[in-house]
Symmetry: C2
Subunit: 253 residues, 2 copies
């Protein structure tokens, strides 16, 4: 029996789109998706898709278009800069059917910061999809470089340290109700506990239940995870599994 | 001027589909895509897409269907096993419009290996999309567990050590002509070298040219990468960039 209580609204969802041949060729270890996944999780946002796509405008456009329609927030990483392989802005503009335009605030900032190391080509960094807004963040010095947002698509750079600084200036915009999580460690294998997991998954549809074999763990064979936004439901599913599996559960966290 | 020589055929392409809520929630650091990217690169296969999707049959089905149509090879990781959250096989079957059927060879193997630790639910590991084939690899002991392949989709597990062992038994199937790569290190910033990169990219369309700022490197500001299957074209693009950029290039690898 599941108590009929009002449930929290589902978590806002997000997609992360990593743009870069260098990731697909294995030259660079991807760090930005894993950073954003952890940040968004902590903010209460459910990441539902990560995609790594090459530096190809058409492919970026179709992936961005689909992600922007399917998710509350979309974050892109990479492909912004002055060289020929930087086509993210063009791809996002194409996704929304708008032209690329040069933003005057960004152009002035690029000239000013560049000083005597400024090149005309650097102004490509001031190109944005028409209709984009500049999020100037929290007013701190690192927020001097705004984040470009086109509707629900946030354009972030590929260099991890800069991506992290820029995300920090906008992160509070995305804060939602936190997730509640429990972990159960089972000394029995997946085959032995699968029926109990089926029942809990059916009885508590708002709780995501995951089952992960740990082959090399000293004291357990399976990690069972429970996640949701409704604390009562997560605790209820946890209690049901403990009752059903009894001594199979080594510990709960 | 680009010499008109016969060019090698384009590299075979691949997509990697990682299935797992645990990656999207940041609980597990994804290792399988990065392993497969490196392996496939070394084999001469161009990975063109990586997607991380949740444990949801419909989403797996649509991603697999699109990837199988767009790429020569598709590799899935995760979502195979006896529990409710293992829905990869059902998703792949749905992608191709076929039912899930139980494979007798796999069922017998699971019973035999399970011995007195066998559970009926473990037989879900013998479920395959109808029409799938079992690739028994190279006959070595670790190849006893075959890789399930549904047309051009290869089904691999989520546990990294097992995925790596299974992939090793089939890797030679995918070997193609190797990539040729060069790296140029520029002490000038991207804005200063962008025009020369534009020209090389236009003159050598079969060579992928990447430009990556390295903010913290002691002796250079930008790494320029050249990749292709045609050695003469890659060397030609490299020579053209060296001639155009001259003293800006710190070294070539």
């Amino acid at each position: 029996m599941v108590a009929q209580m009002p449930r929290p609204a589902p978590a806002p969802t997000a997609a992360i789109i990593v743009i870069g041949d260098e990731v697909l060729s294995g030259k660079v270890e991807e760090q930005n998706a894993r950073f954003l996944v952890r940040e968004l999780r902590a903010l209460g946002v459910a990441v539902r898709r990560i995609e790594v796509v090459p530096d190809v405008e058409d492919e970026i456009a179709s992936v961005v278009r689909a992600a922007a329609a399917a998710h509350d927030h979309v974050f892109t990483s990479g492909g912004v800069g002055p060289t020929h392989d930087d086509v993210t802005v063009a791809g996002i503009a194409a996704a929304f059917g708008v032209p690329v335009v040069r933003d005057r605030y960004l152009a002035d900032l690029i000239r000013e910061v560049g000083g005597d190391r400024f090149f005309e080509r650097d102004l490509r960094g001031a190109d944005v999809p028409e209709g984009a807004v500049l999020l100037r963040g929290d007013g701190s010095p690192q927020a001097r470089w705004p984040v470009v947002a086109m509707r629900n698509v946030y354009v972030l750079p590929g260099v991890p340290s800069i991506l992290q600084r820029k995300f920090a200036t906008i992160r509070e915009r995305f804060r939602a109700a936190p997730f509640v999580s429990r972990q159960l460690y089972s000394r029995e294998c997946e085959g032995a506990i699968a029926d109990a997991l089926d029942k809990a998954a059916a009885d508590f549809p708002g709780v995501a239940i995951g089952s992960y074999p740990h082959l090399d763990a000293p004291d357990h064979r399976v990690l069972v995870t429970l996640d949701g936004r409704d604390r009562a439901a997560v605790e209820g599913a946890c209690a049901q599994l403990l009752a059903a599996l009894g001594p199979a559960i080594v510990r709960v966290e």
